[in-house]
Symmetry: C2
Subunit: 364 residues, 2 copies
């Protein structure tokens, strides 16, 4: 591979002059510049970032660690592969900053994380982002204090800056919107209880009910997610069966995620129930391939993954450039998304829905 010295020789100038042409940091005569440019083109010269980095000590690289890429074929934990959208958001935000995003995948094994961090440090990344597969608490190995790091879709207990979804608000807004549509018996088929999101969503569910003066009825809340195990459909079937036989059955089923909603569609139809006239269904995630493909399209809550990524990246960039931003911060940054109202929920009452302003656009 050609070097500046090769270029300099061909162009008949000094290496430093070639460097100046490359960086434009000092005036170079028009004629000389053209000579150099021609020599570079002729040799197919590409500068070595390694050599450049040695002097400047600036790599221009931001490291991203994720399981997003390898997760999908795993036994499928909670949601699906939505953390990928976070990576997209980060990608977009970093792209505009002139830095290069280097993505490393854990391959599903979190024990590889220290090794990945080590590799990034060897490349002298200017900052790190860790993206978790679902909203959770994590514990990462220690990072040198001069390398900023941001957690996306997760948090730790030592105050590392983080950006997470506002699960409580999302579920709250959905239930509030269902109430506005005239629903009073709102069933909630929850996620597994060990998930951080589940606790927060239940809070939101109850808050929305109590704000509307509706009593919380535990018989309408049940965990139906076994993490994709075989008998999950059976459990769903039994639960729905039980609820529909109640003297005062639910008029809408809120599902812990859109995937569960797909199953519920199949079950309800096998029971001969018409959607949405006889029973309404809502999801969570706005997993669009599903939500928009289903018939009728699914009402759900947008989980603003892309926005989480963008915010996390912006936060990191701020930490990199302005050393003034504190590296440790108090609370995680909460990001919420709008309720996506589609055909799977029946409007049972004519009410001034718009005045509720539930469908926010603030996550743009």
């Amino acid at each position: 591979m050609a070097t500046i010295y090769d270029v300099a020789r061909i162009a008949g100038v000094s290496a430093k002059t070639v460097s100046r042409v490359l960086n434009g940091d000092a005036p170079v005569g028009r004629e000389t510049r053209e000579l150099v440019a021609k020599a570079m083109a002729q040799l197919g010269y590409v500068p070595s970032s390694a050599a450049r980095m040695m002097r400047s000590n600036k790599s221009g690289i931001v490291g991203l660690i994720t399981g997003a890429i390898s997760l999908p074929n795993e036994p499928a934990m909670p949601s699906g592969l939505p953390d990928l959208f976070i990576v997209q958001g980060i990608q977009r935000a970093i792209e505009g900053s002139g830095k290069t995003l280097m993505i490393a995948d854990t391959g599903g094994r979190s024990d590889r994380i220290p090794h990945l961090i080590q590799t990034f440090l060897q490349h002298r990344v200017e900052g790190l982002i860790y993206v978790a597969e679902y909203h959770q608490k994590v514990t990462l190995p220690a990072i040198p204090a001069d390398t900023p790091i941001v957690l996306a879709n997760c948090f730790d207990d030592i105050g590392t800056p983080s950006v997470v979804p506002d699960d409580a608000r999302g579920q709250h807004d959905l239930v509030a919107r269902l109430i506005a549509a005239g629903h009073r018996r709102i069933a909630y088929l929850t996620l597994p209880a060990f998930l951080v999101a589940d606790g927060l969503r239940r809070q939101g569910y109850r808050a929305a009910l109590s704000q509307a003066g509706i009593a919380y009825d535990p018989v309408l809340v049940e965990c139906c997610d076994l993490g994709g195990r075989e008998d999950e459909t059976q459990l769903l079937w039994d639960t729905i069966d039980r609820m529909m036989r109640l003297p005062d059955p639910p008029t809408v089923l809120c599902c812990g995620n859109d995937k569960m909603a797909v199953r519920v569609y199949g079950i309800l139809r096998s029971r001969g129930l018409k959607l949405p006239t006889e029973i309404s269904v809502a999801g969570y995630d706005n997993y669009r391939v599903m939500a928009e493909t289903l018939f009728p399209p699914l009402t759900t809550v947008d989980l603003p993954y892309a926005a989480i990524g963008v915010r996390a990246a912006q936060r990191l960039l701020a930490m990199i450039s302005g050393g003034d931003t504190p590296l440790r911060d108090t609370d995680p940054m909460l990001i919420s998304g709008p309720v996506c109202w589609r055909g799977s929920v029946m409007e049972r009452a004519i009410s001034n829905v718009l005045s509720l302003n539930v469908i926010r656009e603030d996550t743009k």
Copy 2:
């Protein structure tokens, strides 16, 4: 950030000795080694890959260019986001080789590709892989001849080594299996005609029919994919309506992909048809979140994306190490996957299905 010189000073040895401890390429006294190790730990020393690369001229980096990460939120071209699985496969294969995979995303804009390649060359990657979003022909900018490159899920017309799915064989095997199950009137709701995959799949469809002595009936083949546009469901509805009114209606609907199959499920059920007893449905892709979640689970063809990735990476690694492998090759490497037989297709005939050996395991 500490350097070997800092470590050397603390340990009271020369820099070269520290280097020897790091690389283990020459004998170092036990006592000295421990002193050095302690100094490194104390300083939190991390070697600089830039400096190392300067001498050795070996980066240990493999570059991957893809739109996989940014595509999903685009207007959703053909399939879904399956190219991600290719990236997974590559990840797995590279991981074991001791090299580091650096992933760059096009952000959905192919005009950024030259810039990404340039960045990779600056980092002196040892090889490049380009992953396309769907089976297609591509034209990449020229790469220096000494940097090997492999195309995954795509090909070009200058003989760059490539690995692509065997669409003809996949569709053939599915149809052959349907025939073995007793189906004779097999409808095919195709992908858009401009896709490479569509042409190949039609070949496979017709080949399987003719091998079974079944006449090709054009009335059973229709394109129903508008690339996710609004009226797609309507088009599907009309097409299915027309086919079901035929004097000799189809007993099974083959869909161009699993996503279309989800729509078809909804439509058939809205028409009051029971799956799979009154009508069978098959997909393509084995997009498992859908295929396994649907009720009943969807029979489909596994599109072996992960295998494509693994093969592409293996091929690249061979090119990197053994310079003997030719950089230009004759034909793309074809990868095929098994038919995934699930509950959405009814067995209409008792036949010795297993003897057909349609369900291959050759993609591991």
